[in-house]
């Protein structure tokens, strides 16, 4: 068999696989890598762009229940990794932490883009007044076909009346950092995020170190591996693995994390521009953390 004949067979096989992928991802935000590999319809770009890139290890103010390789406005704010899509999106989310009464986070995040510029803003509230805090966050960056990067900042204010005096006022704190991602080819994307490069005033509720991730998307399957260093290098790094499978408008995913070993199960469903997602993580000692989100994203009408 000649090389040309092989190429011809390969091209036909790729077209057939692309048709199958279009059927699967058409009704759910999918990874850009998948879109590039399988989809020609630019109308689905925005939906596909919601997948891939960062993981959700150690989130605190905008803990979105997105599949392992997906990105949402909340994820953009939390990690400084810009969305590939410039389409506007809004996300509302609720997190109930470890079954602890009065420890819940409610947040709203917006994201939009123009050409290669990406921006996001959000506000969240965690906990009751004695322990809780309010956060406002901004992220600004750029994203192209093969890479993206952004800076993010979050300002917090404690709700307690007798909060600690600090440089930015009683109970006030600021953190800033950023993230980058780059496509490595063959459906693989690498990312790095350092969300707390700079802190001032009241210390954040959770110290977050450098997060390094790699994701791989193939057809209906996506895989994500993440390593989160302890901030300042003190302590052991945490590792996370996630596997998502999509079928029509539904995506189901499993995640596993160490320190201590635990797992999460998530489910997302898309109806038109609306995506509802939920995930439950079971901690061996602390119990379950439940995350719910509602994402409204206008499909991108690109070429």
């Amino acid at each position: 068999m000649s090389t040309r004949a092989l190429r011809g067979r390969g091209a036909r096989a790729a077209r057939a696989a692309g048709a199958a992928r279009r059927r699967v991802w058409a009704r759910f935000p999918a990874a850009p890598a998948v879109r590039r590999l399988a989809l020609a319809a630019p109308a689905r770009l925005a939906a596909l762009a919601l997948l891939l890139l960062p993981a959700r290890a150690a989130a605190q103010d905008f803990a979105s229940p997105a599949p392992p390789a997906a990105v949402t406005p909340a994820v953009f704010l939390e990690r400084g990794l810009p969305e590939r899509s410039a389409s506007p999106a809004v996300e509302a989310l609720v997190t109930r932490w470890y079954e602890v009464p009065d420890l819940a986070t409610r947040a709203v995040a917006l994201a939009a883009g123009w050409r290669s510029v990406r921006a996001a803003a959000g506000i969240s509230r965690t906990g009751e007044p004695e322990l809780g805090w309010t956060t406002g966050a901004l992220a600004l960056g750029v994203a192209g076909r093969g890479a993206g990067g952004a800076l993010r900042a979050a300002a917090r204010r404690d709700g307690a009346p007798g909060a600690l005096e600090a440089a930015l006022g009683p109970g006030a704190g600021l953190e800033a950092g950023g993230g980058v991602w780059v496509e490595a080819g063959a459906g693989i994307t690498l990312s790095a995020s350092a969300p707390q490069i700079f802190t001032r005033g009241i210390s954040p509720p959770l110290e977050r170190g450098l997060e390094i991730g790699a994701s791989w998307v193939m057809d209906d399957l996506s895989l994500r591996l993440t390593r989160v260093s302890a901030r300042g290098g003190a302590g052991a790094a945490q590792h996370e693995a996630g596997l998502a499978l999509s079928a029509g408008p539904l995506t189901v995913w499993l995640e596993a994390r160490d320190l201590p070993a635990r797992g999460a199960l998530g489910l997302a469903a898309r109806v038109g521009a609306l995506t509802v997602a939920g995930a439950v993580e079971s901690h061996p000692v602390l119990g379950e953390t439940v995350r719910l989100s509602l994402v409204l994203a206008r499909p991108h009408a690109g070429p």
Binding site: V100, D102, A167, R200, G235
Partner: protein, 561 residues
């Protein structure tokens, strides 16, 4: 064996069974079997030596021997020529063939042939017999350097309570080290009889040390065969009686089921049967046919059955505020009780005696035994000084557990040695500086940071939830918080772990610890970086399979510049 004899060489010489001579000194000899010899020297009685020292002479010949003119001298091995006279035989002093003659203090039993305060020194020293004809026999013991103080080689330095005895009585091997050994005192008797079983003094023990009333206990001890012949299986019987009930049948009669060779020893254990509550003396006796020495067949043990008159209620084994270690006790006795009549020790056994308190302790009253009374009173200014007793010597209580999970024991005894209370404790889960106290039927860390000497345990107010932390916002660095729990069980085992918001365990605030249903502990957040944390109480009922988990969130406050 070489014949003994007098040598008058001008050079130092050592020969078996014979003598060595130091130039310019008296000739020195070892034993001569044709005349009376030294058979036993008892120079270091347990406790005060006064009146208890003796030197036993033995006549190995068949004919009687006069001791007239015989001199007994004591030598100070610290320097040459330091001999002093202790006794001189008179014409009335004689010794039968194969007989013994004891020169000793007034307290020697049986009474000695010559009563003399010998005032012998502990080794390295010597005694010698100087006969009127110039023949000398020396017995030296300890690490002697001057040759005039020993024959051949010095004997061992006998430990306190033991004699230096010639074993067997006619041994004559040419060196003190070969003829003499440490041996139980046997004044006026053969050192090595044909049949002699000994109940080794101090070897008796009861397990448990303080049995419950009407419960049995296991009495153990050791028996030695001090005779020349083996004692066969079943030939020795151990008999036990309660001293206050001499006419009652023996508590036990226990034949020793093994043979004991000459010079060997064996242990025994016998069940006592039910014992009545109170304080008793158990008398234990060996029964052996043909035993040559009845005196070493007896021993006794003071025992307490049931609770003693004092109980331990609080122990400070790791003081952190300079107050010294202390132990709080409570009187169980219905009559006033004098704490000075007790001793306190740790697991090691050094018994301290209370002093400096005053007066008797009323029923149910508390007293404190302190390592440093002044420091304790300085730290707890409001307590009654009359009920604080300083114990000397104080046995330092251990702060960390051994491999068995026990840190140490607080042991109370009456001054005559009768057990009163033994409390073994674990240091696991006890915060630094916090005493442990007897509360609601169990030992637990005190609810007061420094404890409550001379006061009952603090009563905890009820809390609204199963688990809470106060305050919920703590400053990073040196802040601390109180962890409080209220469980649906009377007793439980609890542990508290701390996690960050990412679910990583960052600290164990309380290792698994036995606790009452309502409990508290103080916890320092030192070393914890600022952030939001989750303290999780894990509890399981002490009986049954019930368990629960409760989580409380808290903030450690800190700021970046």
């Amino acid at each position: 064996m070489l014949p003994a004899g007098l040598l008058t060489l001008s050079l130092a010489l050592r020969a078996p069974g014979a003598a060595s001579v130091t130039p310019g000194s008296l000739p020195i000899t070892c034993s001569r079997m044709d005349r009376t010899i030294v058979a036993e020297v008892f120079y270091d009685a347990t406790g005060d030596d006064t009146g208890r020292e003796f030197v036993e002479l033995f006549n190995p010949a068949e004919a009687p021997c006069s001791l007239a003119g015989l001199r007994l001298e004591a030598g100070d091995g610290a320097g040459p020529g330091r001999w002093t006279l202790r006794w001189t035989g008179t014409s009335a002093d004689s010794i039968d063939g194969s007989g013994h003659f004891v020169i000793g203090g007034a307290l020697v039993e049986p009474p000695p042939g010559a009563t003399v305060a010998l005032d012998l020194q502990n080794g390295p020293d010597a005694v010698r017999l100087v006969w009127p004809d110039g023949v000398i026999e020396v017995v030296g013991y300890g690490a002697l350097v001057h040759a005039e103080y020993f024959c051949g080689e010095p004997a061992v330095d006998a430990p306190s309570g033991q004699s230096l005895a010639r074993v067997p009585d006619r041994s004559n091997q040419g060196a003190n080290a070969l003829d003499f050994r440490a041996w139980p005192p046997s004044p006026g008797r053969e050192n090595l009889s044909k049949r002699d079983a000994e109940l080794i003094p101090g070897s008796l023990a009861l397990d448990p040390e303080q049995p419950e009333p009407e419960q049995g206990a296991r009495l153990s001890g050791r028996i030695a065969n001090r005779g020349a012949a083996a004692l066969g299986t079943g030939e020795i019987t151990v008999l036990g009686v309660v001293a206050s009930e001499p006419d009652a049948p023996p508590l036990f009669s226990h034949p020793i089921p093994v043979a004991i060779a000459a010079g060997e020893s064996a242990s025994f254990a016998a069940e006592t049967g039910p014992l009545a509550a109170g304080k008793h003396t158990l008398r234990v006796r060996l029964s052996v046919a043909g035993d040559a020495a009845a005196a070493n067949d007896l021993d006794s043990l003071r025992v307490r059955v049931g609770a003693g008159p004092l109980e331990v209620t609080e122990i400070q084994f790791h003081p952190g505020a300079g107050e010294g270690e202390w132990v709080e006790v409570r009187s169980r006795d219905p009559a006033p009780l004098d704490p000075a009549g007790f001793t306190l020790s740790d697991r090691g056994g050094a018994r301290g005696v209370p002093a400096a308190g005053s007066g008797a302790l009323a029923p149910e009253s508390l007293a404190v035994f302190a390592q440093d009374r002044a420091a304790l009173l300085a730290r707890f200014a409001g307590i009654d000084p009359a009920r604080v007793w300083e114990v000397k010597p104080w046995a330092a209580l251990n702060n960390s557990n051994d491999s068995t999970g026990v840190a140490d024991a607080v042991v109370l005894r009456e001054s005559d040695g009768t057990p009163c209370e033994r409390m073994s404790y674990s240091a696991s889960g006890v915060p630094a500086g916090v005493p442990i106290e007897w509360r609601a039927g169990a030992w637990a860390p005190s609810r007061a940071a420094l404890g409550t000497p001379l006061a009952p345990p603090l009563t905890l107010a009820p809390i609204a939830t199963r688990f809470q932390m106060t305050p919920r916002r703590v400053r990073a660095g040196a802040g601390s918080a109180r962890l409080m729990w209220s469980l649906p069980w009377e007793r439980a085992r609890v542990s508290i772990e701390v996690y960050d918001l990412a679910g990583r365990r960052v600290r164990r605030a309380l290792p698994e610890t036995p606790s009452a249903g309502r409990g508290e502990c103080e916890w320092s957040v030192e070393g914890l970086s600022p952030g939001l944390y989750l303290a999780t109480l894990l509890a399981r009922a002490e009986t049954g399979n019930q368990a629960l988990r409760e989580t409380a969130a808290f903030r450690v406050e800190g700021a970046s510049p």
